[in-house]
């Protein structure tokens, strides 16, 4: 698919999931930013395919489950590192959050480590977040109390 066609596809995805405002935010840089986001999506898909031997198709998610697509195409998710984005995709597919370790100290590099569990009961990870933007995944987990304990589940869109 040509670059203009891919830009059109991404633009449509952003607009259909409520993130169309990004295009205005980017303004005259929109074309360059769309290319950057597309390159990041390609890097994510390639690494995912390498690890799991199947190709993720974010644009197909728009028709398959637009509510999950909304979470995937939000600005927070678009900024994630490849490792964190793979973690998000695995949760969208149905993995559960098994363990999160997060260390923050002002002025230092943050450390985020997330373990998942597949529906088959197998552990996955750790998925590691090092860059500042990776912190943002923590804002998208659903939270529920079960037997007076916190359970984090799912990856959902912010407003």
């Amino acid at each position: 698919m040509s670059d203009p066609a891919r830009r059109t596809l991404l633009t449509k995805a952003l607009e259909e999931t409520g993130s169309g405002w990004l295009l205005g935010y980017w303004g005259t840089n929109a074309e360059r930013m769309l290319d950057r986001v597309l390159a990041d999506l390609d890097a994510f898909a390639a690494e995912y395919e390498r690890r799991f031997r199947e190709k993720p198709e974010p644009f197909r998610l728009l028709s398959d489950d637009p509510y999950k697509a909304k979470a995937f195409f939000q600005a927070d998710t678009l900024q994630l590192s490849v490792d964190m984005r793979i973690m998000v995709w695995r949760i969208l597919l149905g993995c559960e959050i098994q363990e999160i370790a997060f260390h923050y100290r002002q002025g230092q590099e943050m450390d985020l480590s997330i373990l998942l569990r597949t529906p088959y009961g197998e552990g996955e990870g750790p998925y590691r977040g090092k860059q500042a933007a990776d912190f943002r995944v923590l804002r998208h987990f659903g939270a529920v109390e079960s037997n007076e304990r916190l359970v984090l589940q799912g990856y959902y869109a912010l407003k």
Partner: protein, 144 residues
Amino acid sequence: MIGGTDLICPVRSDIPISDVIFRVVRRHWPRYVFQNADESGPFTPHAGPWLPRPSGREFFVYRDEESARSWEEHGAIPEILGTMLYVILPAERSLLVPVATSVTLVCGELTGETGEVVQEIQGTFRDSIESLSSCFVPFPLEAA
């Protein structure tokens, strides 16, 4: 006729509602099976462990295949009332503008494990409503 308890649960319109329900159910009923409400004929449990995707607005979730078959055979008898959840998703959902909508859950008495399942689903829905007020946080994607 199911009987039991009808609950109207507020939820945000732009989250994958069935995803929330199946994740909670899966923790409590790991052998759960799912059925679209418009499916007729022999009961066919959801195949595979990944989260199912309902084809319509209404669906049933049973604790296990045995419960599903009992429901099919006997209907709502007291012995199995607490083994099924009937879900009715909102008729209209706004994806682009998140608003509060509601899901209807129909189940047996709100006690025991069924009560916990429903309470946790409601808790997650409530959490989604509260995040309606989540504020905009600046981010480093380049602006014009």
